[in-house]
Amino acid sequence: MNAAGLACRALTFERSTGGRLLDGIEAAFPCGRACLITGATGAGKSTLLHLLAGLLGPTSGEVWADGQPVSRWSAPHRERWRQMVGIVFQHLHLLNDVTLLENVLLPCVPRPERWPAVLGEARQLLERLGLGALEEVTPARLSGGERQRAALARALIGQPRFLLLDEPSAFQDDGRIEGVLGLLEEATGQGGCVVVCSHDPRLAAADLFQSRYRLAHGRLERCP
């Protein structure tokens, strides 16, 4: 249990309307590696990511982060856990009436100690994701792919220890996917724990992912 990274132990989640979505999931997502979770739509991939990000509490079982049972922590402690997590939502959840740069900076606004450095980092990330010229544009005026890359930049800012991405390539063309994968490789190279949920075959074919899982019928099975 002391391994660096995220781990699920007998993780179960039931919907409030009834029905078990995740059923006793056992998995380890170590730091320095990228893991891919595939599964059909509605299999519970997003719910699993929300559990790993501390947004949802499990019905039973536990989420461990760096050897700590974080899902058992009280709300204020879970906030500290969330500060170590960068997340891309399936629905992106960008603020549509502020600029891309502001969206990317949002996770770092409450942490003034890193402020000037983080602004440069945000610009660099946008540049690398092909959004450098669009930093003063609001997401409402961008394409789906651009919005998705902006959400990725927001997740990567501040170099979070745990990176949880939900369908990060859904709107990307092949050329852009390379750039996205490059950034994720850098994150794992820096000791980050990257968990990607996707049913994009292009990601399934990527060499980046050392661990692959398939989520079906509430169970997470390791793929060869």
Partner: protein
């Protein structure tokens, strides 16, 4: 004949300007913050200054007239309630 510039006058490339530490839209927001922080102090300061400069004088003038005319604040009592001059006070 072309004039040669001395060495110190040769134009050198300027160093790149340091990137601003705030996003564009925030610069305006920061100006609004500074205005919001300064405005109350400015207004309170001006009021304080005005109070200091003019404080009390008109009342003293009115009080002098009260004494001069032998009034009993500000209506002539014992008739009236201080603010109004009741008709029944008329002889």
């Amino acid at each position: 004949m072309a004039k040669t510039l001395p060495a110190q006058e040769v134009t050198r490339p300027c160093p790149a300007p340091a990137p601003p530490i705030w996003p564009g839209a925030w610069r305006q927001a920061r100006r609004a913050v500074i205005a919001a922080l300064l405005l109350p102090w400015l207004l309170l300061g001006l009021m304080g200054l005005d109070m200091g400069l003019r404080g009390g004088r008109p009342e003293q003038t009115a009080a002098r007239w009260v004494g001069c005319l032998g009034l009993s604040t500000p209506a002539l009592w014992p008739a009236g309630d201080g603010m109004h001059y009741p008709p029944e006070a008329a002889p």
